[in-house]
């Protein structure tokens, strides 16, 4: 009985540890030259497509600029350029079939030395923005999971 219990516990733990270590995901190609087919992912549709993402990006930038913990990072930002690239980037990440015309994540954040906590402030402001434009928490998490893959390329550059 005890043996059976222990065995089942061990199996469960093995599954859990396996899941923990299997969580690394290869990032999808960003900025690859494309004649990508115009099939659009469910996630991109759930974000409201092109206009939905545009609305989200406006709210994201509004929240980042209003956040005293991180807005100093935007002192030299051209917001028109930033907005265009962010639209493309979210579109690519969410599988919307766009082309990202900016620098890669390492180059984009080079010299900014963004700290781990600052990255988390961006996540919090982004969650707030997504809620504010009416994106459901489940959809938020699907997008966040994809964007969070870039964290190692964004911090401490």
């Amino acid at each position: 009985m005890i043996l059976k219990k222990t065995l089942s516990m061990t199996l469960k733990l093995t599954a859990v540890v396996g899941a923990l270590f299997g969580c690394a995901q290869a990032p999808s190609a960003i900025g690859s030259e494309s004649d990508q087919p115009i099939t659009v992912s469910d996630l991109y549709q759930d974000l409201g497509g092109k206009s939905g993402v545009a609305r989200l990006v406006d709210k994201l930038i509004e929240n980042y600029r209003a956040d005293a913990r991180i807005n100093v990072l935007f002192n030299e930002t051209n917001f028109e350029y930033f907005s265009a690239r962010l639209n493309e980037y979210i579109c690519v990440r969410a599988g919307g079939g766009c082309e990202y015309k900016g620098l890669d994540m390492i180059a984009t954040h080079s010299g900014m030395d963004i700290k781990e906590r600052e990255f988390n402030y961006f996540v919090e402001d982004s969650q707030k923005a997504m809620s504010e434009v009416g994106i459901a928490v489940g959809v938020q998490n699907r997008l966040l999971k994809l964007l969070a893959q870039d964290q190692p390329d964004v911090v401490h550059q």
Partner: protein, 274 residues
């Protein structure tokens, strides 16, 4: 009890009145709870996360009061934990264990170090190593029960990962711990002669940004002659309205404790993090 209630109200009022006080570098909910043993975790199992909301350039302090009530026993704990640069955690817990006609207790000094990985980002989950020095505050009572060993050390390794998109598209925290211990009922009933490896696991689903529903399972060595001990289990609901306040309520099943079978009841904890 009156003092306990008063303290709860005071901590709550303070924490709610100052929503952005102290260390705030981690995402909401990812500081975990300060467990009944003082280290960060769920209520009864350790996690690889370090106490509080401090990221790697911040210090943070946490304090918690906890009460577990079953048919025949009451366990109360007051604990404090210090998180240093999200690298090192130092903790202290004082436990009082009311058994029929008597009281036992212990002090737990803990240290935990994050050795690899990250809770959320990158390819490796967060891995931490921890140790606890446990010392009975009632050696004479234990001696009267025929228990000679009243102090010892636990060692453990924990791994934790938050999956932003878990089941039902909800963020999900998964934890597993291996512990080397001689403790009987976590040390409340002293220590045995032989060291054993036990497993502890927990998982929590974030129902919303500030509410988590979770399960915990803590296996135990069961080496006390004549007084069987079972695994502890609980189902908990944890609420973190901001980064300064966390409350958790759980249904606990402690199994057989000190000769009393089928001990189950509630677990309540209230904590402040700064």
């Amino acid at each position: 009890m009156k003092d306990f209630t008063k303290m709860c109200l005071w901590v709550s009022a303070f924490a709610l009145a100052h929503p952005a006080l102290g260390a705030d570098g981690k995402l909401l909910g990812t500081g975990g709870l300060v467990s009944i043993e003082g280290n960060a975790g769920g209520g009864i199992t350790p996690w690889a996360v370090l106490a509080g909301y401090g990221e790697n350039d911040q210090w943070s302090a946490s304090a918690a009061v906890t009460q577990v009530q079953t048919q025949d026993f009451r366990l109360r704990s007051a604990s404090v934990a210090l998180g240093i640069y999200n690298r090192v955690e130092l903790s202290f817990a004082r436990q009082r264990f009311d058994i029929p006609n008597d009281t036992l207790g212990q002090e737990i000094f803990g240290a935990k170090v994050r050795v690899a990985g990250d809770l959320i980002y990158g390819s490796l989950p967060q891995v931490s190593l921890g140790t606890q020095f446990k010392r009975s505050t009632d050696a004479n009572t234990l001696a009267a029960l025929g228990i000679a060993d009243t102090r010892d050390v636990d060692l453990y390794a924990s791994v934790s990962r938050l999956f932003l998109q878990g089941p039902f598209d909800r963020s999900t925290l998964v934890n597993a711990t291996v512990r080397s211990t001689k403790a009987q009922q976590t040390g409340l009933l002293g220590f045995s002669a032989k060291r054993k490896l036990v497993f502890e696991g927990s998982a929590a689903l974030l129902l919303s940004r500030s509410l988590a529903l979770g399960l915990e399972y803590k296996s135990k060595p069961d080496q006390l002659p004549g007084l069987r001990e079972d695994a502890w289990r609980d189902v908990f609901l944890s609420w973190f309205p901001n980064k300064n306040l966390t409350l958790a309520l759980a249904y606990v099943d402690l199994g057989a404790v000190a000769g009393k079978k089928n001990q189950s009841g509630y677990f309540f904890t209230l904590q402040g993090q700064f």
